[in-house]
């Protein structure tokens, strides 16, 4: 696998829903996760970033920490999300994002603070989730990839007068 980088057209296309939950799919998910863990940061990845136009993404903020004191980031471990649908958005905050598919560029993006969403697991069973803070931001970033959206599509001015909420 390798990371596609913008302006690769695969990153700007709408991805198809997962319809067949078979061993081939599970094998792909396993490989995608292993690949994600080899990347710097490595807290999230979406299938289109490796050229597969299917609604699959993985998020795992377990190893992530904040600030010099290395405070852990609240998270619910590894999430394998197939056909994720965000159903509710609550609050908003400004945060800085970058993307493995957009090297050497970071910018400010406004995201919902808290989201509810549903997603299928690797066997096609649907689950409901709630997430907030950094993990919610990561999920919104990855779900955007499935709709052909990059954080570049949501950039706001670096002089935006909206401070991060705690």
């Amino acid at each position: 696998m390798e990371i596609l980088t913008y302006p690769d057209a695969h990153l700007k296309q709408q991805c198809a829903p997962v319809e067949t939950f078979d061993n081939e799919l599970r094998q792909f998910v396993t490989e995608l996760e292993a690949f994600m863990r080899t990347q710097p940061g490595g807290i999230g990845i979406a299938a289109p970033q490796v050229g597969r136009a299917e609604r699959v993404c993985i998020i795992d903020l377990t190893g992530m920490t904040r600030g010099k004191k290395k405070r852990p980031v609240p998270n619910q471990g590894r999430l394998i999300l197939l056909n994720p649908e965000i159903t509710e958005w609550d609050g908003y905050e400004l945060g800085r994002e970058g993307c493995m598919s957009v090297p050497d560029y970071t910018g400010n993006v406004i995201r919902a603070t808290r989201i509810n969403f549903t997603a299928d697991d690797a066997f096609g069973k649907q689950h409901e989730y709630t997430s907030e803070g950094f993990e919610a931001r990561a999920i919104q970033h990855e779900v955007d990839h499935l709709d052909g959206l990059l954080f570049l599509d949501r950039l706001v001015s670096r002089r935006t007068d909206l401070f991060q909420r705690k």
Binding site: P40, G41, I43, G44, I45, R66, G67, K68, K69, G95, R96, E97, G98, C99, M100, P103, D104, Y105, T106, F134, R137, A138, H141, E142, H145, F151, R158, R159, F163, Q164
Partner: protein
């Protein structure tokens, strides 16, 4: 031979400056790098990286019709472009207070001493002309973290209000 220059242009603000300057550079075969342009007071300021086939003299000549018509002051420095080496800021400092001489020197002095490397600073004078206020927004890389930076600014809290916060960057 192609050369990189940092080009500074300053003049009274009016509509169309950016369009005319960049059109002249494009027509001269120039390539633009990163740029920062803004209105400061009633002046328009441009800091822009330009790569051109030729030297300073040729770049000046290419811009002369525009700088003359728009009354812009031009300054050029030969530079190493150093593109694709962005630093990701991890701390933001907001300072504001009644305007007085020395705010920027004291704030940035304290920050420098604490090991804070500024990547971006912008400041504005607001309020009314009798009671101006100064607002300073700084981003940078803090080697020592948020608490140390906060402590470094604490002695200034008599005369200014300030806030220090982490900038966490998500790479997804």
């Amino acid at each position: 031979m192609r050369n990189w220059y940092m080009m500074a242009l300053v003049g009274k603000d009016r509509p169309g400056i950016v369009a005319e300057v960049t059109e002249a550079l494009f027509a001269a075969g120039g390539v633009l790098g990163e740029a920062s342009m803004m209105r400061l007071g009633s002046n328009f300021t441009i800091m822009m990286m330009v790569e051109i086939e030729g030297d300073e003299k040729q770049l000046c000549e290419a811009l002369q019709p525009v700088t003359e018509r728009l009354e812009l002051h031009l300054h050029l420095d030969s530079i190493d472009p150093g593109l694709h080496q962005h630093q990701i800021p991890d701390l933001r400092v907001l300072v504001y207070g009644a305007d007085r001489p020395g705010i920027v020197a004291q704030v940035t002095g304290a920050l420098a001493e604490s090991g804070f490397d500024i990547t971006d600073l912008d400041s504005q004078v607001g309020g009314d002309s009798e009671k101006p206020i100064y607002v300073l927004m700084i981003e940078g890389v803090a080697s020592a973290g948020v608490e140390v930076t906060h402590q470094a600014l604490e002695p200034l809290s008599e005369s200014v209000d300030f806030r220090v916060e982490e900038i966490e960057t998500l790479i997804g």
